[in-house]
Symmetry: C2
Subunit: 281 residues, 2 copies
């Protein structure tokens, strides 16, 4: 798991870096970005994992969200992984924007030919945190997770499937009920096979019904002019499931905002503040 530093830029008093490493659960070389706030060599600091959406790499959030400003202020490390394995030479992996490369969907694949590499769930919840905790001044007891769109789905399932592992979760325009939308159906059928029961293990709206972890307050953010809201995202399904399961959730509807990073940049400060309440004691 040796790390190779590819980029470093000073940013808001800290360091914005990009690394590559060989991933054993994904069977390929992966990149991730990490932001280390100003005092990152004097203490163990809390960490927020950011999961990006379809077509993204480790760069989109790093460049466009303006999150370093808030991570610097709250002394929080940000970790920004890629969204899928890369260059695995699997036939068809580059054929569409919503399956294969750039579209790992944060599951562990069970189907051929994907199951040898497309294990982003294990990568995000196990392999990457182990690496981060070993190589950076990260406090393994204080981590949270958030993401956007496909990555919002990823953040929600990683949180709900691992009670207590993350202190808090938030998501921008997440795919809330992937077993019911075109993006999710395509991805789950491809990675998990035709048995739709198995899909429910990676669907936040299904998972929340059996959540029995510590008390929580899920934060969901949604632009009302999001071009994918009606056909792909279904936040109301998640809110309804939370209501039935008596799991507290806040859905912030943002009038006139779309699915872009301009929207994320506008509200990322609020989200990091939400996580800081849980992480910084």
């Amino acid at each position: 798991m040796s790390l190779k530093q590819l980029k470093v830029n000073k940013s808001f008093g800290g360091l914005q870096k990009v690394y590559s490493h060989d991933s054993s659960v994904l069977g390929c070389t992966m990149k991730f970005a990490v932001y280390l706030p100003p005092n990152a060599d004097s203490a163990k600091l809390p960490v927020i994992y950011w999961l990006s959406g379809l077509t993204c790499t480790e760069e989109n959030f790093m460049i466009k969200a303006g999150a370093q400003q808030y991570a610097s202020r709250h002394s929080i490390i940000l970790v920004m992984p890629d969204t899928s394995p890369r260059g695995c030479k699997i036939p068809g992996e580059d054929d569409s924007y919503d399956f294969g490369t750039g579209a790992g969907f944060y599951v562990d694949a069970t189907e051929e030919p994907w199951k040898a590499n497309y294990n982003m769930y294990s990568y995000i919840t196990e392999e990457l945190p182990a690496l981060i905790n070993a190589e950076f001044p990260a406090d393994a007891q204080r981590q949270s997770i958030m993401g956007h769109s496909m990555g919002g789905h990823g953040a929600l399932i990683c949180y709900l499937k691992n009670p207590g592992k993350y202190r808090s979760v938030s998501a921008f325009s997440p795919i809330c009920n992937p077993t019911q939308c075109p993006w999710g159906k395509k991805a789950f059928k491809g990675y998990l096979g035709p048995d739709e029961e198995s899909w429910k293990e990676y669907d936040a709206t299904c998972l929340v019904a059996k959540y029995d972890g510590p008390p929580t307050d899920i934060l969901i953010d949604q632009g009302t002019d999001d071009e994918f809201l009606k056909d792909q995202l279904f936040p109301d399904n998640l809110v309804q499931a939370c209501k039935e399961a008596q799991v507290p959730i806040v859905l912030k509807k943002r009038a006139g905002y779309d699915h872009s990073y301009f929207y994320i940049a506008t509200f990322i400060g609020e989200h990091i503040e939400h996580h800081a309440k849980h992480l910084v004691e």
Copy 2:
């Protein structure tokens, strides 16, 4: 000069837009980005022009700098033009990153084959502001200018050559003395010809000696780890010329920062605050 809207995204309560239009002084279709803060339809607002550096388009600052946050807070319009004419089919215009496309250097060319199109100085100081003032709620009496690298040079010369036209000027890692550095010599020889006297009309360090406009306070920002500081930028030459001409200048040296947009994003808030002091009454 009819405008065509290409993109619109809500951002910090306002609208981040991209337009194209046919430029008569450049003889081609140009794009620019504009940020309209939340109350842009109820009053005439001040404007800051941002000039980008080599290889940039109208997109870099819009996506990477995080400036909308501060423009929103201070109710200032941001205008972000492209860095050169595009697609003029001049032989050689795409041969290098530091001359031709993406490298207009904010001069009015006098040499063939550039002089028909490469008139970025007139575009920035005349044609574009006329368009902005006609089409947006911009207060023509309250405009300022800033930029980065080649665009920092551009901001300084536009300001110094037009006393009173801009309320204030600031620059990140500007090319302060282009007649003396490789980037400037190459560009000026190509656009302005071999007579080096003519080059001085577009060199901030030369221009400041004869500045006789209203009292001013020029703000220059420079990272100490900037990879171009030693060979291309020469901020100390400008500071020395200002001292001799008794023109107030502040040079902020930022320890450990480089030439990137991570650096710009860290300090753009300070710069917009500097301009707001001059623009918002």
